[in-house]
């Protein structure tokens, strides 16, 4: 009973987010091992750099040492090895976790202002500059 109280106390102290404790199992096969095929490994690496670690949130799964990130790397490498396209794997994850899981910018309407900003700023710059040059003459 004392143990139960202790566990309940610990659980109460933990934030509501899922616990980050580690299991006792060894990392998945492909968590820290590259694929034998260099070209496939490059594909997997490029994809892993642009997928967000679910439990560390500021890191890509390629950067993170979290156990779950290791499992995600293993998932990516297994699927690439099986011949799946990187963008299909990304789509599979987005289907489950939303755009949030991917660092790659999308062209969804919500990002249109961002894509348009450089063009608009350049146009504004040219317009301002043109006015200035004309006045000099």
């Amino acid at each position: 009973m004392r143990n139960a109280c202790l566990v309940l106390l610990l659980a109460a102290l933990l934030p509501l987010s899922p616990a980050l404790a580690d299991s006792k199992m060894a990392p998945a096969e492909y968590a820290y091992r590259q694929l034998p095929d260099a070209k496939q490994e490059k594909q997997a690496q490029d994809l892993m750099q642009t997928l967000r670690c679910l439990v560390c949130q500021g890191q890509s799964i390629a950067d993170s040492d979290a156990e779950m990130a290791g499992d995600m790397r293993a998932l990516v490498r297994r699927r690439i090895e099986a011949g799946e396209q990187p963008e299909d794997i990304r789509a599979w994850l987005i289907e489950r976790y939303g755009d949030w899981v991917s660092y790659k910018p999308t062209t969804a309407p919500v990002t249109w202002p961002l894509w348009a900003a450089p063009v608009l700023l350049l146009a504004a710059g040219i317009w301002v500059g043109r006015g200035r040059f004309r006045r000099r003459r």
Binding site: L10, M25, M72
Partner: protein, 184 residues
């Protein structure tokens, strides 16, 4: 005396500074605002359970397949692990739900049979079936991002509700309501 054109230029000169200050303000407020706990809700809520077939997590109890959730009655799918502290805190509440007639199946994440057996021996076993997901792949397939999490699955195998974190006594009505809702 300044011409109206010069006055206009003078006002315009302030625009970049104002824009810059507004930008810095926006970034600073974003940085200083404490980040709310990001709870990552699965996008699969409302969609059918993905196909899977997991081997038994513990000796003497069956493994778990997606087909087990298409038997006509709503069930809970609890994602847990013997190494997860909130899972132990949640165990008595799950037991209480099981005693009340709620059918609960489990996916054990990154776990060994002996550890699961010890966990169940200590905290009680509310589960009808336990599938072993040694590399979290079914967890990813479900759009789950931690332990414990609980999904309410209706009798046709459609995910109806997701509870993130341990189910506490105060969450029981919400779970029961979701189960009742899943009957329709």
């Amino acid at each position: 005396m300044t011409s109206p054109a010069t006055r206009k230029v003078r006002i315009l000169l302030w625009v970049p500074l104002i824009a810059f200050v507004a930008f810095v303000g926006l970034v600073a407020s974003g940085l200083l605002k404490p980040t709310a706990n990001v709870t990552l809700v699965s996008k699969l809520v409302g969609k059918p359970l993905p196909e899977f077939a997991l081997p038994p997590g513990v000796a003497g109890q069956p493994g778990l397949t997606a087909a087990d959730f298409r038997a006509g009655k709503p069930r809970l799918l609890n994602i847990f692990a013997s190494w997860c502290v909130p899972c132990a805190a949640e165990a008595p509440v799950l037991k209480q739900l099981a005693d009340a007639g709620v059918e609960i199946d489990a996916v054990a994440i990154r776990d060994r049979p002996e550890d699961i057996a010890r966990f169940l021996g200590r905290w009680g076993n509310p589960y009808a079936r336990i599938g072993s997901d040694v590399d979290s792949s079914i967890q990813f397939a479900l759009g789950s991002s931690g332990v414990p999490e609980t999904f309410v699955i209706d009798g046709k195998g459609v995910i109806r509700h997701q509870h993130i974190g341990d189910i506490r006594a105060e969450n029981v009505p919400e779970i029961l309501a979701a189960l009742k809702d899943a009957e329709r």
